[in-house]
């Protein structure tokens, strides 16, 4: 696999992103690597500029709630599965770089223990202040690069 990292003056970090299998209506989803408040490991999150807010569901939401700031506010969230009950938290989410530097984002995140989908990095409270780039591989064996900067 070729390891030549792309370059962009505004980009402070690069990491490989992964394209998931087609899901349901044949949409491909983009998975990027991040760390969320209080957990030692790296997470996979869906990069979704179409999502109003970032969203954490299921047991991961319960784990994260212990380390995030509860804002005591309901947060409206509609998914393709319908409307879900979510609560607003302020938390640190770190975009993980394999080249350059990580980017720590103090973000507003919707936590919804009843939501069974993946961790979503959405626009409001997160992506709206982060510059991002997707540089897809141009041939088989190359790396798909995710670039970011504050």
């Amino acid at each position: 696999m070729k390891r030549t990292t792309p370059s962009a003056s505004w980009c402070s970090g690069w990491a490989e992103y992964i394209v998931d299998q087609p899901v349901n209506n044949h949409q491909l989803v983009v998975g990027v690597s991040c760390r969320i408040a209080g957990l030692p490991n790296i997470e996979h999150a869906l990069l979704d500029t179409g999502a109003q807010w970032s969203l954490v569901g299921g047991e991961l939401a319960e784990l994260m709630a212990e380390f995030a700031e509860d804002l005591d506010q309901p947060i409206p969230y509609s998914t393709r599965f319908g409307r879900i009950e979510a609560r607003a938290y302020r938390a640190s989410v770190v975009l993980v770089a394999s080249s350059g530097e990580d980017l720590e984002v103090e973000a507003t995140v919707a936590l919804a223990p009843d939501f069974r989908g993946p961790l979503v990095l959405g626009y409001r409270g997160f992506l709206e202040k982060v510059r991002v780039a997707l540089v897809p591989a141009t041939s088989q064996g190359e790396t798909d690069w995710f670039g970011f900067g504050g």
Binding site: M1, S12, G13, A15, E16, I18, D20, Q21, V23, G31, S33, R35, L39, P40, N41, I42, E43, H44, Q52, G58, E59, L60, E62, L63, E69, D70, L71, D72, Q73, P74, I75, P76, A88, R90, V94, V96, A97, S98, S99, G100, E101, D102, L103, E104, V105, E106, A107, T108, G117, P118, L119, R124, G125, F126, E128, K129, V130, T143, G150
Partner: protein, 233 residues
């Protein structure tokens, strides 16, 4: 008790002209919630037509509680209301007017209307306005409005609406991440509907429950290098 609860209570106990002053059209979403409880108690008339105010004069029946919803805001509309307020009050008609901040001046400029409304004017609190804007997806508008409020009025809403902030940190990824991705591309079909924990190209564990898997990850000496990923069913 929020503004809508207060308003429902007042409307069902009393009659008269009520004016709900909202600072955003987004508040209309919350007012929609008023209609159902009121419809059980009253004839509810929705109107976007000035003429319907005059029609009330003809169709009004003494003793009936009528609720007229309107978001009209031109001067003539208010003058119509003002000139009909005695009739509306006598016949237990309730006028519920929803208007935006910009139109508040219209209310004030209608002769005698504010005095006839007396203490019945219910103004949405800043928090309720902001929540309504967020509900309607009007985040930019909510931020502008929130900037004019005090921190005490906003509570957690201020933090919720605060733009994200960023700072750089030393890189914590590396080749192990790419090896984990390669593993996922090759093996994910074998683990659909499960969380997987990977250290490079080694599967540390997998589980349908995230908490159970997290306990395994937390106990691992190289937890900071482990990638945890959900594989869709």
């Amino acid at each position: 008790m929020n503004t809508t609860d207060t308003l429902v209570r007042k409307l069902t106990l009393n009659a008269g002209i009520f004016c709900l002053v909202a600072h955003s059209d987004a508040f209309l979403h919350q007012v929609e919630a008023l209609k159902e409880p009121l419809q059980r108690r009253a004839l509810v008339v929705d109107t976007a037509e000035r003429l319907q105010v005059r029609m009330l004069r003809q169709s009004v029946q003494p003793g009936h509680l009528r609720v007229l919803f309107s978001d009209q805001n031109d001067r003539q509309f208010w003058q119509d209301i003002d000139s009909n307020r005695s009739m509306l009050n006598e016949n237990r008609s309730v006028l519920l007017v929803v208007t935006s901040e910009a139109h508040q001046a219209m209310v004030a400029s209608a002769d005698n209307l504010m005095s006839s409304l007396g203490g019945a004017v219910i103004e949405a609190r800043p928090r309720e306005n902001i929540e309504a804007m967020i509900f309607a997806g009007k985040i930019r508008e909510a931020r502008l409005y929130a900037a004019e409020q005090t921190a005490m009025e906003l509570g957690g809403l201020g933090r919720m609406l605060a733009p994200p902030t960023t700072k750089s940190r030393p890189a914590s990824g590396g080749d192990h991440l790419e090896r984990s991705h390669a593993w996922l591309r090759e093996h994910r079909n074998e683990h659909r509907g499960r969380w997987v924990a990977l250290l490079g190209d080694s599967l540390i564990g997998s589980d349908t429950g995230r908490k159970a898997l997290q306990a395994v990850v937390n106990a691992h000496p190289s937890a900071h290098k482990i990638l945890v990923s959900w594989i869709a069913p």
